[in-house]
Symmetry: D2
Subunit: 341 residues, 4 copies
């Protein structure tokens, strides 16, 4: 495993953005109240309010799974379920944490290109009246999706509208929402709160933070007593200032958008460069992921040098981040050409 | 609340030790595998093994509550309970996380000076044969205790021995074990593994880390599949290298002991300086906490300037850390003298 | 263990009242819809409404622990806690089911004669604002209590009133509420709904049913989707008509009160007969339990012939039920006299 | 809904078999120890041992969902998952009880005719080494299946063998195992314990009991402390003798097989009689369920008079039980003929 190139395996193999690291170092001066009651946390709250409006509640969390579980825990009773795609991160990549921490059942629908449609909800609606089935209560969508695709603004609005018509709440897993905002050139408030999303998991670690995610409650009937819930959910550290300081920097001068834009551009560049190789197929990247189809033999050779996420025996995901260097892409493309020939 | 002095309210109001912060900054170079499979984590594991021997498993976690819950979750089935003191952190300060995350019941015994005795276990032993009661399976002790006191080595050995005789496992909440080690001048392996402890929560954040705790499994029959359990328990971030790098530095050149020794010494100094004030009573500090009894009026005046942890209407806890300055203690003592007169 | 007399060990060692058994036999004719949607269940609902008024919801359950857990599960989020006495059945006799099934923490207060006072709540009120503590949300009282004592109507009203003033809900564990109603000569609606109780666990099995308990929701904001919750809580059998039929008979011609009155009278008789024995002390029975203090030697001799519930090394609980025969009491008293002499 | 015929909607719309009811009535004499420690329970245990051998543990439970959850709870840690078909009762009909009560994730495979094959397991095997996925630990199969089909003995053996090779345990949901035994003419011990099943949920309520199911542990390393687990799982009533007495009668003179044989024969008769109707398709019944495909219009007309379980907009399930009368079948067939023409 020595000397494997890790740069394209995920957007979390990079470290933190230097400005973020600097914010942490600067936050290290003096004493602060513990457990989220410090001035950094207050300033972070204000930064979120500047973006989303004052009528929200923000809850900082430690991990991506933690943010999703906290969001859903606030939205659900244990006998209620979550409609999501079969490949949703909450359904497949979180070790059953939603089930174990909330008690709730994930109710999968079959996605097309990682996305669901409003009408996919229908198959679970009758379960609201059945005592034998988990009562559907939340629709959760991922933006950008696990397949690197994007919901258009209209698609989000339609899902929210249809969900609300059917007394369902909407959660958005925004682990990579920054990449979606720049790709679609849509303001984050428009894409979430204004579109009808009730609760957003807003990612940080995949876009340049050391660690830290945020749950943003647009529907404030859901955020009651979230501080106690957060501690009980193991998502509170004593020195929360170190997360808050990162988010303050993240939003200052739009670093979050800058990082995401850079990552998306790198993915575009990677896809273009790879497109000249005839023996492989490139899924045109919508955000910062490039999915490449190739023979399994080619993939094995690729994996000898690059540590990648195999999404299928013939498909690999190449991920770009704020840290991806053009030269790394050029090296990768050159290696791929060698494999292909 | 403005300008309140926060330095004595807990050992987690300080930031991180500069060397720890530096380790984080240095860990930020280049790519690393995500989710704990990186080289920093391997080196951190080796550092723990150097201290405790090779026949252990280490599981890094995010928060103190997280470490305790992970440790207990590995040790317990949900219908089994944990014998602990009535004031144990797991019983009173973790928002019911052990109950919610494990399903287990805390089985409190009345402590004397924050400590339990082997015979305190007896009241729950019969419950092993009762289907109506949570089956006691673990004894959890805190070292140093929530009252700032210490179990002697012999006391730990006796509890472990008695617990094992009765088919109970032993967990140690070592959020402040560093302070105990230097106070008793006992090697940590002697105090834990060799004394019979099965699983240790080893604290970091209260002794100079940004964040991060460790669960050390001496009884390796309990650590099976802990990586999946950790993710399901929301205690995994993608960039685990940033916790591992802290622990590597923490153990290098005994920084952890140096920090703890400094904090303990400051507590000694604080207690000595306060002891000349006749209207207050000082509990002689055993580790880094100074408990002070005074009139409620005096306490209110103290709290106007110092943000402190009120353990009782007439008792306040003053905590020292690696960051406590002698001049801060002198200021505090002067203020206390003014109040007292 | 052969030939031990079991009659006084609890009010659930008796079988079912003949009329109840007959109701089960009669309910066995023909087909019924499964899972609580049958005509017996509708008639049972109506029977509860006749007693408590139409503005209630009733949820039949399988066991006493099940009824308590369902009631509390409807009232609580997992990070909220239940204030109860240290000896409450939910705290000590249900294998940690409330913790495991709900996630909630039991918050014990020290009882006097099995009872709590409104002011006992105070010690937990500050925890509502602490993120480190389980948020108190429910006060649960047992009527008649685990010590065989009774809350007066005024005491119940005061607890409810004080709880509601502090935004706490009130649950009553009425496993033996029938005995309380006849002992105090107070109508059950007056003692529960009108006094301010939000949710009642109404017992059946200890007063002549084969099995079956009921949760009565006076606060109907809490009963939303209880049918799904009940199934998820393992408290639904397919042939619910067999529970419903028992409750219809239970309430018809006041069989429940008749059974309870008989049991209470037997307890009175037992206490009176025992009171002549000088070497033992009798706690005057308020409902159907007689607590007797004696030397441990005497108790061991008693237990050679009678299977009893030892509440203390020197105290035994003797329980009477609808099935207790006067001759059984006479035999017991005679044996006790022999022991005593 | 008045006067709807309920007889074919499920095998649990019937009451109890008269002999079973009689056993309950007879068990009502005198006192018995509560909570499963009575002589009926001992005799019931012996009855199970007579069938399965002495090296087993039996745990009586209250409901079918309860039995499945208890069985799986004993077999699983919360971060482990259960491989089952997408239509398994535990996956779709139990309100998410396995997820909520155990924390575990159901891992569905696509069934053919309600059945899975050993190789279906493969897709989850790699998850054993992934910390991001629920660790597969149990394979659960239903016999007879939710589609009324049967696993052959060889198929069961192959699944068990393949599961064990891969360190997975095997659970069998035998809510209708009696019907399977008589249909295949295979002894129940041969079909379960000898075939490699680790834990069996053995159904009662669908084959003539008032209520009551049993968990049979063939792998006794899994049954440790099940009595406490059962109480914590809300599957214990005080008067367990009333369940035990039913099972004693159930096994006496093979009543369970007689009931199942009768039900299966009725299903055969129903299928044959319906087969002459050309506009509908009959799935040849393997046990006691008859699945009928017809136009949706025909189905609506059927449902005007018969309350049935619609498994699909064009498919209905007709269930026979020990109580089904030939005349009821004749009436139904006549009505179907009228609809068809």
């Amino acid at each position: 495993m020595k000397n494997l190139n890790l740069g394209f395996s995920s957007d979390n193999t990079a470290g933190a953005h230097p400005k973020i690291m600097n914010a942490i170092v600067e936050a290290n001066l003096g004493y602060s109240k513990a457990y989220g009651e410090d001035d950094f946390c207050k300033a972070s709250d204000a930064a979120f309010q500047k973006i989303f409006g004052e009528d929200i509640d923000t809850c900082l969390a430690l991990s991506g799974t933690g943010a999703n579980v906290l969001a859903l825990r606030a939205m659900l009773r244990p006998w209620q379920g979550v409609i999501c795609t079969e490949m949703a991160h909450i359904n497949t990549e979180e070790s059953g944490a939603p089930e174990a921490c909330i008690g709730s059942k994930m109710l999968p629908v079959t996605s097309i290109n990682g996305k669901m449609k409003p009408s996919d909800i229908d198959m679970y609606l009758a379960d609201k009246d059945s005592l034998h089935r988990s009562s559907p209560a939340v629709v959760s969508i991922t933006q950008s999706t696990e397949k690197g695709t994007l919901y258009s603004l209209e698609e989000i609005q339609n899902i929210c509208s249809y969900a609300h018509q059917n007394n369902l709440l909407v959660h958005m897993d925004g682990a990579r929402i920054s990449n979606a905002c720049v790709a679609l050139d849509i303001d984050i408030k428009t894409m979430t709160k204004d579109a009808g999303v009730d609760v957003l998991s807003l990612g940080g670690a995949k876009n340049g933070l050391v660690f830290g995610e945020a749950i943003v409650f647009f529907n404030r009937t859901l955020s009651h007593d979230y501080a106690t819930m957060r501690k009980q959910s193991l998502q509170l550290i004593s020195k929360m200032r170190f997360i808050a300081a990162q988010f303050i920097e993240y939003f200052k001068n739009d670093l979050w958008l800058e990082n995401a834009r850079y990552a998306n551009n790198m993915a575009q560049y990677l896809a273009e460069e790879l497109s000249s190789i005839k023996s492989i197929q490139i899924q045109k990247p919508e955000a910062n992921a490039v999915f490449v189809t190739m023979t399994n033999t080619a993939m094995q050779t690729l994996m000898e040098k690059y540590y990648c996420y195999e999404t299928d025996p013939n498909e690999v995901r190449l991920m770009c981040s704020f840290a991806t260097q053009k030269s790394e892409i050029d090296d990768l493309v050159q290696y791929m050409k060698k494999i292909a020939s």
